[in-house]
Amino acid sequence: MNTRDLVLIALFAAIVVVLGLIPPITLGFIPVPITAQSMGVMLAGCILGAKRGALAFLLFLLLVAIGLPVLSGGRGGLAVFAGPSGGFILGWVVATFVTGLIAQRTVREGQAETRQFIGFFLASVIGGIVVLYAIGMPWVSAVTGTPLLTVATGSLAFIPGDLLKAAIATLAARAVYAGYPLLPARA
């Protein structure tokens, strides 16, 4: 790994920390407040690509594990991994990787803007929602004993917010791609 990649990974992990410090926004039609940090997965994958994005999140989880309160709301430490949503937090790394993989394969320079938007949105939805829930929900079910179907039904409440996050991440990722492209070319 060259030094530039190492720095990009560290800077992105730091950006995710800062996203956790931004106050969450509440929208009338969505039951759960939206934290900017939860967009980090989609942003990291779409902006840095699979490998660097996943490493940035691995570094972020390391910060959580060694006891820095870097999760939104000032949470941190080993306890968050032991709790019911530990799967979602560990799933961030895989979700970022998948988001990056799809973004790398669908988005290229010189494409029409709309195609880039579609590519980033698909990557964010599949990586940041489908993959993340595929890891997080069975985990909740396994540690709390709540049947998977109940967990899945309950998780539906988060889907509108997640789709909105994917839309915001898409627009932001495309803005970054236009201004300072970092996404590796089709791997």
């Binding site: 030094t3 720095v7 032991a82 709390t144």
Partner: protein, 201 residues
């Protein structure tokens, strides 16, 4: 801005080496998850709660640290009451609370440098394989801690710029500039690291 969750003290957990604590945490999660016995989970809960209360956290802070996780545990337990036998719900809830308390107690009694030393040791096999270098991990970690205040200051500057123009502060219009401005520094920082020869392999 980034103050560690470690707390000074001299309790039993403070004195134990970090490796022993981590092995104890992993071992107790395996044992508790394999066992369906309510008394065992209850004993584990009492021990974990005792350890957590003994680390010297002020009660308010102690509650705040585990509060959010406990809230999700209680919520799921309430859902479970409709679906599972009450004994099973009690077992599952006590087990999770015990592990969360134990984990929180370990976090409160271990310094960042102790964790980092242990991580460096855990990374040695990967380093031998040539997959990564432990020095790079420490360097990356140091860079994060170094740049979080800068990036936060940048976020505030962008927010001020919004206000000055009478624009609403929305994540969408903040995240883009924040990321571009931050990542554009990567080349300069990388050049500075290389010029100082920090990564000689």
């Amino acid at each position: 801005m980034l103050t560690s969750l470690h707390i000074e003290g001299n309790s039993l957990l403070h004195r134990l080496p970090v490796r022993v604590k981590l092995i104890a945490l992993v071992a107790s999660s395996i044992v508790l998850f394999l066992s369906a016995s309510l008394p065992l989970q209850a004993i584990a809960f009492v021990i974990a709660a005792g350890l957590y209360l003994s680390v010297g956290l002020p009660p308010k802070e102690a509650l705040k640290r585990v509060g959010f996780v406990f809230l999700t545990i209680f919520f799921l337990a309430a859902v479970n009451l409709f679906l599972l036998p009450i004994i099973e719900v009690a077992t599952l809830t006590l087990r999770l609370m015990a592990l969360v308390l134990l984990a929180a107690a370990i976090t409160a009694t271990t310094t960042i440098s102790a964790f980092m030393d242990e991580i460096t040791i855990l990374l040695t096999p990967l380093e031998r394989l040539g997959w990564l270098s432990a020095a790079d991990v420490s360097l990356a970690l140091g860079l994060v801690l170094r740049f979080v205040p800068d990036i936060f200051a940048r976020y505030e500057a962008i927010r001020e710029a919004h206000r000055a123009r009478g624009l609403p502060v929305r994540p969408l219009t903040i995240i883009g500039p924040l990321i571009i401005l931050t990542l554009k520094d990567a080349d300069t920082i990388a050049a500075a690291i290389d010029a100082r020869g920090f990564r000689r392999h």
